[in-house]
Symmetry: D2
Subunit: 404 residues, 4 copies
């Protein structure tokens, strides 16, 4: 047992921190300004400055960390974890700057693992190059999406095509006009066994019948900087049969394969948010004076700071161990640990953000600090990829089995 990062990780951390200090943090004010303008203009493109960051990141060799093997940066999950955390510190910019932003990472993984050579050439390559963005269309408004077997979208074979009808929402990234390709989950055979009814299929943005209705709000945010969350209707959307990913009936299995890494990536980045929130809380508490002394001298504020540190240290270690286990035993072998961090992260980081907001006074809720927006994002993680309650139930069932 050893708690020290390996040499490769230490080297990459150094490079990434330099990039953050020299390039990303300095760009934050401009990006914030561009996004405030985007709100006024109702534009859904990411901040223009992002392209500069991407160019610089590529130049520095900070790109596609998330993808193991030769097509990516050649890192293990364990090596990627601290890097993802660092990008989380500037969550609106850094993950996209190094081409490691959700939902594209998961989509690239799916194409990498299950795509045909043609599919890879057409969509994986420009995604890996950071030229286009993508989305993943699974959640539906009319059913409890915590239970994936509820899905109602139909994918029907018709000659050499598939025809898609359905209604999706919370399709993250889809409002961004540069999100060119969508992975859509639907049912090809409602008479098959429960977990063999679903298939995944690729749909291009400009396909007739593909109708983006609106962006969903999260609290009052549109999440424009990462392409919002779209409500989409599919009216007889026709795509070539070659757009199917894998075979018919493999949709559920592919979704499961996709979710493991997606969940841990969220957790890794969230640690970065938590660390930055603690930093901000400490700085504000030291500067701000009330009733004759800095807020940092108040016992209750110190209690929050200490609890934050204690919580973060525990959470990070479990995220790292999970990454290590995924490297060693595969996503399935780390199933329980992935659930555990999925449950623990939003609660822990949300708690810290709430305290950081309180230390900032009303300003902490406003556009002058990123804390409230981070809180909103963290709150969504209690639903994303399944609500806490579903994961807890499943984790408890496994625990109960161990002791029977």
């Amino acid at each position: 047992m050893d708690f020290e990062y390996d040499a490769k990780t230490v080297e990459m951390i150094g490079k990434l921190e330099a990039f953050m200090d020299e390039v990303v943090y300095p760009a934050e004010p401009l990006a914030h300004e561009q996004m405030q303008a985007a709100i006024k203009e109702d534009s859904w493109s990411p901040p223009a400055v992002l392209e500069d960051l991407k160019a610089e990141a590529k130049k520095r060799g900070l790109w596609n960390f998330f993808l193991p093997g030769d097509d990516g940066a050649g890192l293990t999950n364990l090596q990627y974890a601290p890097l993802a955390e660092i990008t989380g510190r500037s969550i609106q910019l850094a993950p996209a700057a190094v081409n490691c932003a959700a939902p594209d990472t998961g989509n690239m993984e799916v194409l990498h693992m299950f795509g045909t050579p043609d599919q890879k050439k057409k969509w994986l390559e420009p995604l890996l190059a950071g030229e286009i963005r993508s989305a993943f269309a699974m959640t539906e408004p009319k059913v409890a999406s915590s239970d994936a077997t509820n899905i109602e979208t139909s994918i029907v074979k018709d000659g050499d095509d598939y025809v898609i009808n359905g209604h999706k929402w919370w399709i993250t990234g889809a409002m961004n006009p540069n999100a060119k390709i969508f992975i859509v989950m639907g049912k090809t055979d409602t008479s098959a066994e429960r977990h063999r009814q679903q298939s995944m299929i690729l749909v291009e943005r400009d396909t007739p019948g593909f109708d983006i209705k609106r962006g969903m709000h999260v609290f009052g945010y549109n999440d424009r900087d990462h392409g919002g969350h779209a409500e989409i209707e599919f009216h007889d959307v026709r795509v070539p049969a070659s757009n199917l990913i894998g075979a018919e009936g493999e949709g559920f299995a592919i979704a499961q394969a996709r979710l493991g890494p997606g969940r841990i990536h969220h957790c890794m980045r969230s640690l970065g948010i938590a660390e930055r929130a603690v930093e901000m809380m400490c700085q504000r508490a030291s500067e701000r004076v009330a009733f004759g002394k800095p807020i940092a001298d108040q016992g209750v504020v110190r209690d929050w700071i200490a609890e934050s540190r204690v919580k973060i240290e525990q959470l990070r270690l479990l995220v790292l161990k999970t990454a290590w286990l995924m490297d060693k035993a595969g996503n399935r072998g780390a199933h329980t640990e992935i659930q555990a961090i999925k449950i623990a992260t939003p609660e822990t980081v949300g708690w810290i953000l709430d305290k950081a907001i309180q230390v900032h006074g009303a300003g902490g809720l406003s556009q002058d600090f990123p804390l409230a927006e981070w809180f909103a994002g963290m709150r969504t993680l209690r639903f994303a990829d399944g609500p806490d309650e579903v994961h807890k139930n499943s984790l408890a069932r496994a625990e109960l089995k161990k002791h029977r």
Copy 2:
């Protein structure tokens, strides 16, 4: 001791509930639509339908409940409490519909108690008639406003005028172009005793040098339906000396007088939010099916519903007792109780809203349900009129004194 409402209250509850059922709830979808349009147009006026509601409310004699005595509806605080709770159930519309919305209620109280006949004629009368709106400018960006003695805005006598310079933010309602009159808190004498330095003065919206910079966001919301929260700069704003409220040095005392009722009104209305959230939680849980049974059959969801009921019942009684005590012993006599409900309400109602959101799935965070917006509003109450920590500290000091 008797826990039954008196006949007058029962009668008013009946009338108000009829108004809610027949007029307010049916208007909610249209108001929501108008506000979504206002976001697009960047308009800061309240939804147009509100004027219809106000006319109807006046016709039904449902008006100015908050103001005791002949100028208002002649109700005690205890009689007003359940009415305020009912208006809280449609918080974006109902309080304004019956002319009982913050911050106007507090401003009208100030003018009613401390205004000169001229001030009353010019500003109180149109406020009581619901013709104009108002704002209260106290909080400043550069200092911890939890400590009112920190205020830096200056009010300097110059001949027959006062000249005001300063910087305020979180001035609720001020973005509404119909907010015609502002009560501004500043210092007239920085050499006086700590609590005698402050004065309050009336400033009209169109006074030269009165510069509204922007609306503050709360979790991404602008709170347009109640006029937003403005950042305002005062550059040599000159008003007649007759605009002073009370005498020089009385600002702190007037502020204190204003805060008691303001705080309890927030708590009363918040109970209505909590009740409606429980209703929505129960309905959604009954309708939504996951893994083969309604969510309402899940033990964890039932735990939330039961806890919500247990918490609300306790909180409401403390709010009612506080109202009763204010009627009996005055605002000062109910000081501890006002602090207690100020501390308990946002935590309790925020907790309930969080659970109601979770039962609604991701939709609960979106513009399709009011829950997230209510959560945001409730979160601000942990700062409004002083952060929790200040009230707890003060309440504990009083408790410690009792046992020495």
Copy 3:
């Protein structure tokens, strides 16, 4: 609505507080000493000083508050509530001193409502006179007693007798040799409808086959001062048929009638414990110095004190309202409220005791202060008369029904 106690209540409070100040509190050290000696001698009698207190209480007319009507003190539940709270402040002595201790109060109520004239003469009269004690034998070790239909003890008619076989535990008060009479719940007809199988029967302590095995511990305590909690076996225990309370099959209904008041009495007394814990916490915090200042100046300690006050005020009002509702609408009409206080009280008071202990340092856990013993007692309330989870589930079901 009125939050003031009536004249009768105010008068009784005055008398009872005088009794506490003049008689009970001064007797506490001696009682503690006698109980520490009882531990050494393994004696199960209450402290000898209790008889003096009872004599004095009777003389002062402070007796049988709990029993409405002419046979008791003629008080309503609402009038009794603040008196019960006051006795809770010295929970080991005061309730028994005024003959209002559990489980006798519930047993006297049962005999009062359902007893035959003979049963009343033989057992109710000496109980009302404070000459003997009693116990209530329902809980069984082999089944989840939260579900009363699980009960396995059999009560079989045999000629003019009933013969009882079964196994009970947690029979509070039963170790006290002066607990002369037991109300035993068992099944007379296992083929009847689920809630008509149970009956209640009176068993005298010295009946052959009635075998007290041992006293159950609660966090290491024996609870000797209120007669411990016995494990009892019934081996062919034969009693006259006239010992049956009510008719066969009425046991469940009688148990329900008994539980309502029993639950609220526990809650009332628990408020007294909470108030005394806050007093002790404040006093200790003011006296004890660490790192150069009184603990009372630490922000975290103030937070605990403030939260304690805020919680108690809310809880007390709900207990009082419940008492009022029982007076007005009967125990069944106050069913939801009784559940609510049953859920809220142990959690709230347990929280306060935990903080009071923390302020006292390790001493707070020891025999030098009553806090840890009170905590243990409060913890049992999360099981007594049904665990929290059962009540929450039932309360949620009722709430869900309201909104369908």
Copy 4:
């Protein structure tokens, strides 16, 4: 970074688990019986069966794990951690069985590091052999012991002797008649610099003037199995000057050196308690039926089980990392981490025990299960070696410094 135990650790875990399965768990019922008898006889010796366990442990080479280097088992802190956890699963027996019980471990460390050859021969050797026990006398009743500079016991040089006067309590293990040697902390020079006033000195049990007054209770427990917690008075206790440990004025520094390992050992063992509680909770929930289904099928119980697992996994990793850091950077280098686990452990494990108790019904509070006794022990950890509040304050100060 690597989360796998090394080969030595895996081997030792195997041996220790075999010892637990074959020897310790089977001895638990007898030990429990012996301790229940000890309560009746007011005996303070550990259960007789312990000596058999010790003999067997020695034979198996499972001895003195805690002591690094050749005098102990030659393990690192990181290697010891999982072993300590395993002993924690049978906390009343196993740590003492392998001679790794508090407070002896800390005392042996002190003698090992700071003892003279004579002191080592006389007291360290029999301690390492498990022939005698020891105690550590620091806490005093009259002052807040969270602040070590408060200590009032005096150690005065008089010729070739030191004379000790003072009053201690909570001296763990001291009631055991086999606790032959005491390390006593007092002040040799009240005029010296704050942290140079204290010294440590060795006092034998049978020294005149050494007066053991009583055993302190924890809740209702005496903690007889590990020698209770004594209140002790020192009246002119005279010991040879050669009994001083280190030099005059080094007491505070030695105490600090002693506390680091002591704290982490408590945390390691507590993990074992937590694991066993989860096991018991799962087993009970699976066996017990209420309202027609096993308690394990209740959503709320599953929530507790899942949360327990999530909490334990995080806590264990932080304990392991702290052990690793102590090996690598020394106790001082792991200062923050030691504080973090000291804060997190009692809260986390106490929470789990509370839930395990609730699943067990009232039996969970009784002598029939060890859960309530474990809860009591865990509650003391929030005071032992300094209350949570002191550690949080210190940890927050360090965090604040990082961000200034």
